[in-house]
């Protein structure tokens, strides 16, 4: 049993919290040779097993977008390398609808004036370990991440996101919205790292998660690391809460409290789905999301 350590927290903390990393048995996640796939603009890839490396590259001032759909019950591992050259724009959509274990990592190099937009949805997933590393190396580089997750049963999700600000005036905006039911478990580690030299940089991270069953287990670890004076960093996490004004408004329209939580959770995730510009993928996702609802 070969153990691998994934999703290491950039700066470890109290050991007893067990959030410093995720340890897994390598064999469960996909074996065999790595398949290399170059994704051109507009491509849609589907991964159902094995190990793959995807390359998404945009040359100077070019725009590229791609969709990767992860499905199936087989163990799998995927690495996605994103390169956005100066002035380029890359948009990557990943939908994890796997019913088996999966390890994913996205490594992005973002050059001067380039932008990388990442949309990720986790709507299946026995045991998903996902790492996202955005290297905002260039001046004025930008990273935007919209992540949504819906966990049920005994599903497990472990995310480690790091936005590393090296370039001056670089910007990151990370938004995570989720809903948990059953006995699902989730760990979200989100780090905004302002390196010395990144003056003028701005980073903002926000997670909103609604917990709908008492057996869920949620861990949130929002880090801000800072070695530069002239930066603006913020993070917010809201676990289990809905604004009272919102609850009152919905109640005044006849909706009972427990329904309000579910409705709110779904609408938040729908916000993430709305960022998927590829119609076929969006339809596919919506079909899964609405599949379980009783009332039409």
């Amino acid at each position: 049993m070969e153990k691998i350590i994934l999703n290491k927290l950039p700066v470890p903390t109290f050991g007893w919290l067990k959030v410093n990393s995720a340890e897994r048995d390598a064999a469960a996640f996909g074996t065999g040779k790595e398949r290399e796939v170059l994704l051109a603009d507009g491509s849609r890839a589907e991964l159902s097993g094995g190990r793959s490396v995807f390359e998404v590259t945009a040359a100077e001032n070019e725009k590229t977008s791609a969709v990767i759909y992860i499905s199936g019950s087989e163990g799998k591992e995927l690495t996605t390398n994103v390169k956005a050259a100066a002035g380029a724009e890359v948009k990557l959509v990943q939908v994890y609808e796997n019913s088996g274990p999966a390890i994913g990592s996205v490594n992005a190099d973002i050059a001067e004036n380039a932008a990388f937009e990442l949309v990720q949805l986790y709507i299946g997933g026995k045991d998903t370990v996902s790492g996202i590393y955005a290297d905002l190396a260039g001046r004025n580089s930008r990273f935007k991440a919209d992540i949504g997750y819906l966990l049920d049963g005994d599903e497990k999700l472990d995310i480690n996101l790091v936005a590393s600000h090296a370039g001056k005036k670089s910007q990151s905006e990370i938004s995570v919205k989720g809903m948990m039911r059953g006995s699902s478990e989730k760990t979200f580690r989100g780090t905004i790292d302002f390196l010395n030299g990144s003056s003028g940089a701005k980073g903002a991270e926000n997670e909103e998660v609604l917990l709908l069953d008492e057996t869920v287990r949620n861990k949130t670890v929002p880090l801000i690391l800072c070695a530069e004076e002239d930066v603006e960093g913020s993070h917010g996490a809201s676990i289990g809460r809905i604004d009272e004004a919102q609850i009152f408004y919905m109640q005044s329209r006849g909706i009972p409290v427990d329904k309000i939580y579910e409705l709110t959770a779904r609408s938040r995730i729908a916000q993430v789905v709305s960022k998927i510009s590829d119609k076929d993928t969006a339809d596919r996702v919506n079909a899964i999301l609405t599949g379980g609802e009783e009332d039409g």
Partner: protein
């Protein structure tokens, strides 16, 4: 009380187990031998159980590795830790050996000479007894017991109570320096507030400044019975200097049903110190713990006051400020465990990093399965004063029930040029403007302190901003 003990043990067992699982390192040579422990025990006339306790702690210390996170303590001579333990015979520092910058700080803060000597660990007995004397009468009349822990252990009225509580909240297995503390602890305060007693005047540890034993391994034990109230103030803004350079103290607070304890601290250990302190409060049903904490000194600090909310409706509030200046690496924060329904916690912390200082905010909010209906709100703000310093925020929330309401927000930034210009346009120099802004930033803590402490804290900030602190 017995039930509480079990629950505390429950929490601790997981810590203990976890550490031993990971322990693949050989144990570190400690330089502490059973002989030294026995020497300390004899000197203090320890009861048998305490002697055993010290020896057991020493064993645990030897077997426990250092944690793998946090600031480096490589400057601490761990292999010769015995040199940090000052038994009576080694206690007298010479005033001439006290560093100049410490003396200068005393000067700038206007501390009277007699106090200076006491703060610097010079054998002289500062007669704070005079100051305390007037307070003591009022305190005694109310039924509150405030005495030094060592005497209390030999007092038949309290010996049993202390035995039941001592290092049960922070056991020696908690971490390496808790074990060290258990082995060599010396001095400290014991406070007992009987049922229904509300003491309006704050008790200050400053009164007992030069009680038996050097302050570096002192143990504070406070027990509040039902419906009582106490405000305890620890420390002072004047730098506490210890040639030895290690402070491994321990504070255990038991807050009874519907009782409220406010525990305020201004820590300003001298800049050669390693401050590895452990503070923990156990709060019963309807009880409340309020922590007010200002951390200014020491070379390296590990400080995370922990609140265990063990009864329905228990509450914890933590207000803190940490100022890390040149050569300092201050790792501070708080831990809150929600272990019962309808409990609530609130944290408001601020940190300032300047002149290459490193400030780390580290927290843990755990809401257990039994804590339905609990609420928690954490707010931390960091201020970077230049490009050579560091500020890290490392919070963790572990939620294990759906009926919880947890919020967290953190911000980091710098002093805005606009604000500085505004103040300068009113005649303040750039330096004064920044000092004023930083004092304003720190007011979350200063407004919770009694006036004379707030003034002292503001003076301290002024000195830190000028970079002239020793």
């Amino acid at each position: 009380m017995k039930e509480e003990k079990t629950q505390v043990a429950d929490i601790d067992r997981s810590l203990y187990d976890f550490r031993y699982e990971e322990d693949e390192r050989d144990y570190l040579g400690s330089g502490i031998t059973a002989d030294i422990i026995k020497e300390i025990s004899d000197e203090k006339g320890d009861a048998d159980w305490m002697r055993e306790f010290r020896l057991k702690s020493m064993e645990i210390y030897n077997k426990t590795p250092m944690v793998e996170w946090g600031p480096s303590i490589e400057g601490l001579d761990i292999d010769n830790i015995v040199t940090y333990i000052r038994t009576k015979s080694r206690m007298n520092t010479d005033w001439n050996d006290v560093p100049d910058d410490i003396k200068n700080t005393f000067e700038k803060l206007g501390i009277p000479q007699a106090e200076r000597e006491s703060l610097a660990g010079v054998g002289a007995q500062y007669d704070s007894e005079l100051v305390y004397h007037n307070v003591r009468k009022e305190v005694a009349e109310s039924g509150v017991v405030y005495t030094d822990l060592e005497s209390a252990m030999h007092d038949e009225r309290y010996a049993e109570m202390i035995h039941t509580h001592f290092m049960k909240l922070v056991p020696p297995t908690d971490h390496k320096f808790a074990a060290l503390h258990g082995a060599v602890w010396s001095g400290g305060s014991f406070v007992y507030v009987p049922k229904g007693v509300r003491l309006e005047i704050p008790l200050q540890s400053y009164f007992r400044l030069n009680a038996k034993g050097a302050g570096q391994f002192e143990h504070t034990l406070i027990i509040l019975e039902e419906d009582s109230y106490l405000h305890f103030i620890e420390g002072c803004s004047a730098p506490k200097y210890y040639e030895a350079g290690l402070h491994a103290g321990c504070v255990e607070l038991y807050v009874g049903k519907n009782a409220t304890l406010r525990y305020s601290t201004i820590e300003n250990w001298s800049k050669n110190m390693y401050n590895l302190n452990t503070k923990r409060a156990l709060v019963d049903e309807g009880g409340k713990i309020e922590w007010v904490s200002g951390s200014f000194g020491s070379h390296v600090s590990y400080l995370y006051p922990m609140s265990i909310l063990n009864g329905r409706g228990a509450r914890a509030e933590f207000t803190g400020i940490t100022f890390a200046g040149e050569g300092q690496n201050l790792d501070t924060g708080a831990k809150i465990v929600h272990n019962a329904p309808d409990t609530s916690s609130y944290m408001n912390t601020k940190s300032i990093s300047k002149s290459g200082g490193i400030s780390t905010f580290r927290s843990a909010v755990t809401v257990n399965e039994k804590a339905a209906g609990s609420k928690s709100a954490v707010s931390c703000e960091s201020l970077m004063l230049d490009r050579i310093s560091r500020s890290d925020t490392i919070p963790v929330m572990d939620i294990r029930t759906d009926k919880a309401d947890v919020g967290h927000e953190a911000k980091i930034g710098r002093i805005s040029d606009e604000t500085v210009f505004y103040l300068m346009s009113r005649g303040l120099s750039e330096e004064e403007a920044k000092a004023m802004i930083v004092r304003g930033f720190a007011d979350n803590v200063s407004k919770e302190l009694p006036l004379e402490y707030a003034v002292e804290m503001n003076n301290l900030i002024g000195l830190e901003m000028k970079g002239s602190i020793g």
